[in-house]
Symmetry: C2
Subunit: 183 residues, 2 copies
């Protein structure tokens, strides 16, 4: 699946593995992420399968870059994937909610402290999606052709992040109140 993340990100400009990680961290991290080591391995595989092509870009004073660009085969494959219908909800893993699920076995003080910490953490996340991301999306618009519809989808996924973290914060507030009553 990382395969398609990389193919998708390479649609407009060629990029190095390092670039791709930067881009992922700045744009898709709240619904898709990857470690550099895995990105490098996947790019290598993608090139072996001819979905991308790479060349070395020499640099002075800093390491040379290996820059990848999408091939026609790669673009076709991406389009095929996008045209498939997804008919099952995504499976989610939230390790912290799993922990919470067993908090019947934990101390009340620990539980409350943990939920407050999460509240603080997720409030900051939400603020990021409201306060910093819109500006970054605005800046990125310059990098795509003006008739391109990509920014609409960037904005929609940003909005998803905003709503997700807002929901999480509401849930934490509600849950803290509940636990104060019921424990």
């Amino acid at each position: 699946m990382l395969k398609y993340a990389l193919l998708g990100l390479l649609r407009h400009q060629p990029m190095s593995g390092y670039d791709l990680e930067q881009f992922i961290n700045a744009s898709t991290a709240h619904f898709w992420h990857a470690k550099l080591s895995q990105i490098y391995r996947t790019l290598k595989q993608l090139e072996a399968d001819e979905y991308v092509l790479s060349h070395i870009e020499p640099q002075e004073g800093r390491p040379d870059r290996r820059v990848y660009r999408l091939t026609d085969k790669g673009r076709d494959d991406l389009k095929g994937w996008l045209a498939e219908y997804v008919t099952e909800p995504d499976e989610i893993k939230l390790p912290s909610l799993l922990r919470f699920f067993f908090f019947g076995e934990a101390e009340k003080e620990h539980i409350v402290a943990q939920l407050r910490l999460w509240h603080n953490m997720y409030s900051k996340q939400q603020a990021h999606f409201v306060e910093v991301l819109p500006g970054q999306i605005e800046a990125l618009k310059a990098s795509v052709p003006h008739n391109d519809t990509d920014p609409v989808f960037w904005e929609a996924t940003r909005r998803f992040g905003e709503m997700y973290y807002a929901m999480y914060v509401r849930w934490l507030e509600e849950t803290l109140r509940q636990l104060e009553d019921e424990l």
Copy 2:
């Protein structure tokens, strides 16, 4: 991590791998899931490490069951895990949102049809959390000691599921409206 899911679920009653999968599907599936094959492998490992103990329960007409119970070592380890503070947000992977992110490359008709399908799908998910899960939680309360606080946490995670899917449905509605305007 599945390790802790299994240890946690074995706190009250001994269960077989098959039971554990049933229980997971009915209670934690919206934030933690696992395939049977992986559950069997993990239980085996857990027994080798002495976190659980198993015995065979012969049955007539149907296959014998291998039933696992938590050891003291297992319970201690679980408690240690619950007492750790989690200070980073969970990393999430939503493959369908990744697809959506690249829908600049897809046909408008396909996009709208896909979002309508998701809307239908997630509305049903949400209804499940509102209409069927509360009854199941109520029924499960009988299986734990009356002074046990577990049901409070079951109800809170159910509520998380309800809020999550409601948020998802709202996002889909908002996004559909937006796309009708902007594409």
